[in-house]
Structures are given as C-alpha cells and as structure tokens.
Symmetry: C2
Subunit: 205 residues, 2 copies
DNA sequence: TGAGCCCTGTGATTTCTGTCACCCCGGGAG
DNA sequence: CTCCCGGGGTGACAGAAATCACAGGGCTCA
C-alpha cells in the first residue's frame, strides 16, 4: 500500500517533500523502533501494523501508554524532535509494521510552510494528550481489576479482534504489575463470564 | 502589570486582536476557573498568580496534574477549545490570580494567521505533555513516599519558597491519598531531616 | 523420548495504603 | 474564659497488591 493513502489530507507540496526526504522502514513484531534515552533523528508516522509506546522506569519497570495505528504519529517524537531532545519513551512494533521516518531537521520548515502538516501535528498532540489523560485517570483512581478491564477493552478496540493472543506475563508488564496478580484477576473475570481463558489467548465475551 | 509583558513574543497584530477580543478576569484564591464537564468558551492565559489543574474522578477523588504560572496556558482548554468540547479537568486559582480569557471561536484564525500564536500553542502542548509524562511516571512507578517528595519539591519550585503554607489534608487531596498516610510519611521525612513540620506549614531542608 | 522452557494456577506471607477510632492541641468566636 | 473546630498524631485493622514458593501442563528441540 502506498503511504499517501494513509495521509490523504496532506497537500501536494508536502507530499513531494516527504517523498524526497523521508525513509520508509519495516519492522518485525518485537523490534524496537525508538529507545528511551536515544537521540531522536526522525519523527515516525505509522503506515501499517501497530506500535506500542511505553515508559520505562530506572529499575526495569515498564508502563504502557498507548498504541499507534496506521495514520497516526508519535507525539513524543515530535516534541523531542523540535527540541532536539532524547526520547523519553520506548516505541516497539507489536506487529510487523511499516513506518515512515521524517528527519527532524525538516520539522520547522514543514510546520511553517504546510498547513496540513501543522494541522496534523496539532491533531496528534490532541489525541495523545487525551489518551494520556485517560491513562492518568486509570492509574490514579482505579484498582488493578478495573485497569485490567480497561486494558483488555482497549486492546480489543485497537486490534479489532475479540480474541487476543497475549500471555498473562505480557499484560502484567504493560500494567507494571505481576503475573500472579493478573492471573488471579483474569480468573475472577472468567468466573464473572467476561472472558474465556486459553493458553496464550484470551477471548472477550 | 500589563498583560503584554507576560507574552513579549506575541506579534503586533496578535496583540491587537487579543486586546480587542479577550477579557481579563480576576480570581481569588480558591475560585474555580473551569469546572469538569463545563462547556469551554475561552482559552485561559495566566497573567498573575498560580492556577492548579487537576482531574476529578466520578466518586469525588481529585488528582493534581500540574500548576500554571504567569505566562503559561492551559493545554486542555486549547484542546477542548478547538474541538468545542467540554472540559476534562478542573482549574482552580491557588493564589489570587489574573487570567486572560480568549474566546475559543478565535482560535482557528489565530492559529492560521499568527505564527507567534501557534508557536505558543505548540510550546504549551509540549510543556504540558512533558509534565504529564512525569506525573505518569510517579503514579505508575513510585510509592507514596516518593510521590510525596516529588510533590513537595515541585511545590517549592513553583512557588519559589522553602516554606509552604499547606495542611496535610490538602496534600492528601492533591495526591488522591488520605490525611493519615501523608501525616505519617511526613513524620518519617522529618526524622530523616528532610523537612520540618509546623502547624499549617512545612519547611523544606 | 526426554530435557528444558514457558504458561498458568494457587497458597502463604509481607508490604503498602486506606479506613476507623480516638487522642491532643491551638486559635478564634462568643 | 470556655467552647468548638480544624489540624495533626497514632494505634488497630482491612484490603489490595507484590512476592515467594511450588506444581502441573504443553510445546519445542535435540
């Protein structure tokens, strides 16, 4: 699929520029696209697949913030890009993914010259900010059982599937919890007839 | 103090427009500037004082996100403004404050016509996003004792004072915790010689 | 076929936090 | 001055979650 179809709103001049300067890269499921502390050289637009953005703590903990789907971009990479910062988050391909990498040194001009670009950037900030807000809500106000339900619901939404191929351990990592806790809570959900548990797979009901 | 001195970066045309269309309002300490669920009619720029932005849960819990100081603006009000949404956060004056209210229907044109304005908006998004990230870090990875230390440090930074006039109950509210827990943790901090406790006042060391 | 690994279930224990109960103290209102 | 109220200290307890320990089952690979 041609990348332009993912971003039909972009104006011709912008498309030309991207065509000339950006690089399209493929990642396999599990590949790290951007690492915490890494110097950012490009802004990433997702074309295909699914990218997971999460935060890392000093002592090895992880915490999932949100997913990027085709047509979306990483707000953090834009933020850091403009300031020539290092990344504050990890980006990992959760499925095989196609990503368009736009060199950061172009950002300033693109913002100035292409209205459709800065609209896209603003839109991106807004969406990520909103998602971050709901994430804050969850960890600030909710117990693990409710957070788990939210997690599963969101996962199903993003993948569009009712059955998710994921282990309890992975969920625990994403929620910065532990496997046993997740297992127990899932068991309870199964008893409430909300899910059906299988090996490496959870079915939503 | 004239509001223009708070925003020296704004270009002449923008200043004129704001002069003509915006309204300056005064709030006393404790006044609610924006309520959760309220329809947003203006974007707020802080001129004087200190404004607290926090999230509310359905069941009465609060959770402090960050402070706005003079020269800063509420990213959330911009987000909602552009989409003509309702507010997702509370904004309360923590000190007597002066706020410039810019009607939301102007936002689109301002973004298009005034470069200094959209730079300001982008900057605002970036800063708030960054703050939100560090907030997420704290609640996701840290225990209450570390969150408390972070809270006190930030409070001292924002006010520029080493002694803060605040009750344990207020801190507990901001952290969505309870008074007893905060009291105990503060006691421990006092034993570690990090603070000195007084009635309605905490001294940082 | 057997070894090793990962996934899952489950009990026991511990730590952290929230909640309840009750205390004292200081300061302002009457 | 006394009363009352909000601020703060503290113990006891409850519940959530993390941690430890261990067992069984399935899958892969030699």
């Amino acid at each position: 699929m041609n990348w332009k179809e993912r971003f039909p709103q972009f104006e011709p001049g912008l498309i030309e520029l991207i065509e000339k300067e950006a690089v399209q890269r493929s990642f396999n499921a599990g590949d790290v696209i951007m690492r915490t502390g890494q110097y950012i050289k490009s802004t990433a637009l997702v074309l295909e697949g699914r990218v997971k953005i999460y935060r890392e703590s000093q002592d090895g903990g992880e915490f999932l913030m949100y997913y990027l789907l085709p047509g979306q971009a990483c707000a953090v990479s834009m933020i850091c890009a403009i300031q020539t910062h290092t990344s504050e988050v990890m980006a990992v391909a959760e499925e095989d993914s196609e990503v368009l990498m736009i060199p950061v040194h172009l950002m300033d001009d693109m913002m100035n010259q292409y209205k459709t670009w800065y609209q896209f950037v603003i839109q991106t900030y807004r969406n990520r900010f909103d998602e971050l807000l709901s994430v804050v809500d969850n960890i600030a106000f909710r117990n693990m059982d409710e957070r788990l339900e939210f997690y599963l619901k969101r996962y199903a939404e993003k993948t569009g599937k009712k059955s998710m191929d994921i282990s309890h351990q992975q969920i625990a990592d994403d929620l910065n919890s532990s496997r046993e806790v997740i297992s127990r809570l899932l068991k309870k959900m199964e008893q409430r007839n909300l899910v059906k548990l299988h090996r490496n797979m959870i079915e939503l009901i």
